[in-house]
């Protein structure tokens, strides 16, 4: 007998079945959670290419329509100022994220590396800036900004965002700086670098993951922001994407296909940046979070 069948007994088979069932359950859970997350985006895209007549069909069609149309996308650029909204938003978001990282990094470095009177207190204050509802701050800021002539300007809007985001960036980056051993900086200074030189040669390169995730965080917050944009910006020329999108909903009609097409286009830049920085982001979130 060369190939005798291996003995099959409940003792050996049952654990395997349980193991397989366990994995299957885990996989099913992951797929379910992912689809919950992805479905709105899917629905957004599918609706955007559905012919207007089919949008309100009942029961709704899950699959894309057979007569899919891409014409809303073309109409968007022809009939609306989507292009300039995108440019405005890109300018505001990139600028805000850049300066939030720059100023945040400076504050974070001081908080992380120097011992001075009021160090603990200033961290608490930074945290407290995040505790107020936005609308509570928006009103006084509106008054101040109008006195300063900063209303209706993208620069002013950026400034308003920075007021919120610099403290967040500082706290995020402090955690990253804290995770970099001080000895590296000391070694560099003994090796002949100045403190600033050390910051640029050693500390910042090592905190790239942290900078990337902070940049991304600030970018997405300012890309999505609506309340401040609504209050501070009047002229359609200065609209950001969130204002532009809101302008679609009319008193009598809302062109849902165009809304969804615009939403799809607006989501794309954030998604692209997210994917580009994802490598750093995952490393950054773990390396900064797990200290020591």
């Amino acid at each position: 007998m060369t190939d005798s069948p291996r003995s099959i007994s409940p003792d050996t088979v049952l654990p395997r079945i349980f193991k397989a069932a366990g994995r299957l359950t885990a996989a099913a859970t992951i797929v379910f959670l992912c689809s919950v997350g992805v479905f709105p985006f899917y629905w957004m895209f599918v609706t955007s290419i559905r012919p207007q007549t089919e949008i309100f069909e009942f029961p709704p069609q899950i699959l894309p329509s057979a007569d899919s149309v891409f014409e809303p996308y073309l109409r968007l650029f022809d009939e609306t100022d989507l292009g300039s909204w995108l440019l405005n938003s890109a300018g505001v978001s990139v600028g805000t994220a850049f300066f939030a990282c720059l100023f945040g990094a400076m504050a974070a470095y001081i908080l992380s590396r120097f011992r001075f009177r009021g160090r603990e207190a200033s961290q608490v204050v930074l945290l407290m800036t995040q505790m107020f509802p936005a609308i509570l701050l928006a009103l006084p800021m509106f008054v101040v900004f109008s006195r300063l002539g900063l209303l209706d300007s993208l620069f002013g809007l950026s400034l308003a965002y920075l007021a919120f985001l610099v403290p967040v960036a500082a706290l995020l980056l402090k955690a990253f700086f804290d995770a970099i051993p001080v000895e590296l900086e000391e070694a560099s200074m003994i090796d002949g670098a100045s403190r600033i030189g050390t910051l640029f040669r050693i500390t910042l390169p090592l905190s790239l993951p942290g900078l990337a995730s902070t940049f991304l965080f600030c970018f997405i917050i300012s890309w999505d922001e609506f309340l401040f944009a609504r209050m501070f910006i009047r002229q359609p020329d200065n609209w950001t994407v969130s204002l532009g999108l809101a302008s679609f909903s009319g008193e009598f009609v809302t062109p849902w296909d165009q809304v969804m097409a615009a939403a799809t286009i607006i989501t794309l830049p954030a998604a692209v940046i997210f994917l580009a920085l994802q490598r750093y982001l995952v490393r950054g979130l773990t390396s900064g979070g797990v200290k020591g």
């Binding site: 051993p181 000895e183 590296l184 000391e186 070694a187 002949g192 670098a193 090592l206």
Partner: protein, 365 residues
Amino acid sequence: MATARLEKVTKYYPDHLAVDHIDLDIAEGEFLVLVGPSGCGKSTTLRMIAGLETISEGDIWIGDRRVNHISPRHRDVAMVFQNYALYPHMNVYMNLSYSLRLRRVAKAEIDVLVHKVAGSLHLTGLLGRKPGQLSGGQRQRVALGRAIIREPKLFLMDEPLSNLDAKLRVQTRSEITRLQRQLGVTTVYVTHDQSEAMTMGSRIAVMNNGKILQTDVPRDLYSNPANVFVAQFVGTPPMNLLTCQMDKVAGSPRLLGECVNISCPEYAAERLAEAGERFLVGFRPEDIEIAGDDPGVGFGGAVKAVEDLGHELLITVSEGSTQFIARLPPTVAERVRLGDKIGFTVNSSRLRFFDTRNEQAITVG
């Protein structure tokens, strides 16, 4: 190459005194080891020499320059850190050449120097690797290389061996000593390990509680400790210290106490009589010889523990609340049994005496 001098150097922290008015003269080309238990201020002292800590009081001189307010990068010192502090985002080549690149040395010259240093430390094949891809011993060598490539005035080393395993530590120990002798660069080396200090240092400064207790060459430190702390810190096992007092028995002075019944050496009698009623007599475990069954004189007691290390026996002998350790050749192994009474003779020139009140050595003869 340079000398270094510390004058009344002191470091206060808000809640404690870390370094307490220490004076230290380091000669050109010397390998000075700062040794002491953790928290004794040795690392703080080293960091003050490097310029990483400010000096609360006193002066530090490197060569003939007072460096109190000179930044680390202008002191021309190189430091090896306990955790190596290699730049993780640079490969070995970039790590080694970092200080040269900062000094804008010509590329060709850097290349020559890096290869020379890498060759002497067996790192040539690893120049392209990042620190994360190196073993502990290799990282250690890169850290050393980064220090020697600059030919600085002073080497400062802060427990550079404590992250290595025991075998590698012994190897690297001799490697570092060899490099230091070869380069002749004045070195200050911090460790808490007294055997490291004894084997590496050309001179050793023992620190405790922010003070330097004794600075001496290893041999003198071992045989003539200046106080009880040094006597017990240096040597494994440490120096035996037994409390005793002097009594006249039949006209001649004797030292008596638990485990102790010896005739007082003549040269010491007068000085000891002045030192007070009770004092400590000290001797190294290898300075006594077995005298057979308890003769009643010499050092003696019951055998409490025997450790056979193969090349030697360590025997713990006790009487009452006192105990001492004897280091004996393995040949006597059969004669020593647990619980036996046992006596030892001592060459009285090997005895050291300490005051019980201030714990300082009593100089006799």
